[in-house]
Subunit: 237 residues, 2 copies
């Protein structure tokens, strides 16, 4: 059976989402008899680069259109412009416009596909100092939580402007006690517990938009619904 | 970019392979910028049922053909014919013939696709007694390791007959000290460590057949290869 697809478009937090306890793998497991979850995460990418490659990325999917696409960028755009991650930095207003362009591009291609924005996560600056990138000897974090928060705001604005549902990850995560270490592994990327938060938020938002296991067809008869006295009967249709 | 696909066809050990530490998720993570790993696991299914649905399962995939298909059945066929799992039991000679039919069906559909058989895992009978299915009050395990071993032999025979590579999981796992509890969660299904064994074996066998990250195109420029002074240059082709 051809199954509906759910496409995850984003940066390293999407690219590594099929690692142990990752939110992408958890989604694939959740939709295990209903949908294929396809990962299109590009480590290090910001929205400027994403916009440059979006036609290539989405050109690879044939009809029917995906059931849903998550768009999860901003962690790299929010690198500070005067620190080691400067070449990934995108000004916040351009970030907002890039998100609008990405969403409009997907929407014009697939008008019925459910879009879901995810804001960048919060930043634990202490974590970034403990786990700097190899070539960064500045002793200064290349991202701060306050600066990431301005990208969170721009992401929410973009979602509202186009009436696209959004996971406010930056806010949601900071409600968890000890979020800095419990949810973030290096001040930026997710622990298994952080992945769990993303997974649960994404499942819930998708469900609100009508994309859920309950609303999808099951691929082939479930074992639990077979007649133990005549299992082949299940396949006669 | 349209990516090559790797299709995992099997029973519950395939269906749950995107759970925490699962071998399917690990494969998806391993091939994260190269291939899509699509799970077609059907919990409880034996080869008799798989053969009934194979056309439907593989009919869902459009061209180009998958790069590889894993075929991982036998754990249910090897239910003892006189115990609680009897309705899943398939005689071992029929199991062998069913595997041959499945492989030939896939091969005739996609002559260039790499096929990989996986034998059923060993059975820890004590584990099966501790975790019986809800409706089994017989006090007897519905599977034994010796009986599963005859299905392992039939799987190896089928692989040799059609010159298809095979992961001899039944033998491989029993070489690990404490395999009964370390690799199996309930005497049958895999722990994270057991999943790791399957993942590593599958990656190695696929690599031997020319299906590897090194041999595949990378989807879009890698961050590590971008020019920090002119990152957009990477996208100009």
């Amino acid at each position: 059976m051809r199954r509906p697809t759910i496409v995850l478009f984003g940066d390293s937090i999407t690219e590594e989402s099929f690692g142990d306890g990752g939110w992408g793998a958890s989604l694939a497991n959740h939709f295990c008899r209903s949908a294929d979850v396809l990962m299109r995460g590009y480590s290090g990418y910001n929205t400027r680069w994403a916009l440059r490659v979006a036609e290539k990325v989405f050109g690879g999917f044939e009809s029917p259109p995906p059931a849903a696409v998550t768009v999860f960028f901003g962690a790299n755009d929010a690198c500070l412009p005067d620190r080691s991650g400067a070449f990934q930095h995108v000004p916040v207003e351009e970030y907002r416009l890039n998100l609008l362009s990405l969403l409009q591009l997907i929407r014009s291609r697939w008008p019925t596909t459910i879009l879901l924005l995810i804001t960048p996560p919060p930043i634990d600056e202490d974590g970034r100092l403990r786990f700097p990138y190899a070539d960064d000897r500045s002793g200064l974090p290349e991202r701060t939580n306050a600066f990431a928060g301005t990208y969170r705001n721009a992401c929410i604005d973009a979602a509202e402007e186009l009436a696209v549902p959004v996971v406010d990850l930056w806010t949601k995560m900071q409600r968890f006690p000890g979020w800095e270490k419990n949810l973030l592994r290096d001040g930026l990327h997710l622990t298994a517990e952080g992945n769990r938060v993303v997974f649960e938020e994404v499942v819930e938002r998708l469900r609100e938009q009508g994309v859920s296991v309950d609303a999808m067809a099951v691929d082939l008869p479930l074992f639990s619904q077979m007649d133990v006295n005549d299992p082949l009967k299940s396949f006669s249709n």
